[in-house]
Amino acid sequence: MLRVDPIQEGIVLDHIRAGMGLRIFQELGLGEKNLTVALLMNVPSTKLGRKDMIKITGVLDLDLTKLGLLDPGITVNYIAGGKVVRKVKPGLPERVIGLIRCRNPRCITATESYVTPEFILVSPETKEYACSFCGERVRV
């Protein structure tokens, strides 16, 4: 079996839905940062069956809103001295600013391009967000 050594200082993104690891790696721009990163795919998991994981050595300011939006089931483990010192489950963010664009052609954000789109979570069950300008709903 493939083994990746535990890290001493850094972040472990655990419980990533299998198949989402590469997307999260790209969205966080981990390839462009000068950090040692391991992307593990299809790791056996008692909870999920299969999961992806990302291990990052070093200090990184993560966008938890973006992570929660990409995969609300993810767990972020902050590691120091080889131990988990903080565990965060971002979940679906209540408010998303600038990450989703409104698809309603009648929305003011469609023509006024300087406006930062803002979406509010309206249904965690269906993962639906509503545009705070026009009310248009999107599923993430």
């Binding site: 009648r106 406006v115 545009c131 300008f133 026009c134 009310g135 709903r137």
Partner: protein, 311 residues
């Protein structure tokens, strides 16, 4: 608490921006204005209202302008955006920031949904939404509730039948959301299948415990309605002329159908009407839509006084 205390400096973008208590304070002030208009004839001397209408409107703009003029204030207006700097490609944000430098209050109508909210974000003076696409028209809701409260004597325990275009009609959406906040309201939602209320609104009403029935035949609701709210099928909301023409004449309130309506019911309409209310109905004492338009001016006077914090 008087309305002007709580509402001074605030924008009015969505019908639910104000609480039922704040609505009540506005209604109380509108009552005072209606009873003693001379007492308020100079309340807004030295104040300037800007009306920016990026979409055609006659009655709403005139209603706001009449309201301001009756309060002694003055009005700046852009009634035709083709003659304004918007035609040169100026952003809405810049237009608003400029106008806010001249006026004490801005009233905006715009074809894009969310435009009034954007305007409020960039304005240093209060912004009142006079209609943003198919989304909101909160001062119509204020007018409607004030009319019901005044003519029925209460905003509770009423059967309200809403008829026509319930899908695209923004006044209907705001009205239902606002009335749901009062106890004992029951709604009859009368429309053809294609123009039923949108699913998100239905979910919202259900989640708030609203009591309503959806139906196609207006005759089913007429004997029970305390308020019959008629709406027009709006041509500008359709992409297809054929669909518009087919649905336009689906419901017409005639003097024959009026026989089914309770003696003390009221018939409302946000106006303008097209074919949905026969002219013969106008003479019936239950037809209150022109009175409703007048009430709209008084309640807008109360709103202007309140957000400007004068009186």
């Amino acid at each position: 608490m008087r309305a002007e205390v709580a509402l001074k400096g605030r924008s009015f973008i969505n019908a639910l921006d104000f609480s039922p208590q704040e609505y009540e304070a506005l209604f109380a002030l509108a009552e005072e204005v209606r009873a003693r208009p001379r007492d308020f004839a100079e309340s807004c001397v030295g104040k300037l209202l800007a009306t920016l209408f990026f979409e055609p409107s006659t009655r709403t703009r005139l209603s706001f302008e009449a309201a301001m003029l009756r309060l002694g204030g003055k009005v700046l207006t852009v009634a035709d955006p083709q003659t304004s700097s918007v035609a040169k490609g100026e952003s809405l944000a810049d237009t608003i920031r400029t106008v806010a430098a001249y006026a004490d209050l801005i009233v905006i109508r715009h074809p894009k949904e969310g435009a009034a909210q954007l305007a409020a974000m960039y304005s240093e003076v209060p912004v009142i939404n006079a209609g943003d696409g198919a989304r909101e028209h909160p001062t119509q809701t204020l007018t409607d509730l004030y009319t019901i409260r005044t003519l029925k004597g209460r905003l509770s325990e009423l059967n309200v039948a809403v008829c026509g275009d319930l899908r695209y009609g923004r006044t209907v959406h705001s009205l239902l959301r606002a009335l749901t906040r009062y106890p004992g309201m029951r709604f009859f939602l009368i429309s053809p299948q294609e123009l039923r209320i949108p699913d998100p609104l239905r979910d919202e009403l259900l989640a708030k415990g609203s009591v309503f029935e959806e139906m196609e035949q207006m005759e089913e609701a007429l004997p029970y309605a305390d308020v019959l709210y008629m709406t027009r099928v709006q041509k500008e909301r359709f992409f297809n002329e054929e669909d518009y023409l087919r649905l336009r004449d689906f419901y017409i309130l005639t003097t024959d159908r009026l026989k089914l309506l309770k003696e003390d019911a009221i018939i409302m309409h946000p106006l303008p009407r097209v074919t949905e209310i026969a002219y013969g109905v106008d003479a019936d004492p239950r037809a209150v839509y022109f009175q409703q338009a007048r009430f709209g001016m008084y309640v807008r006077m109360a709103l202007i006084l309140s957000v400007l914090g004068v009186v």
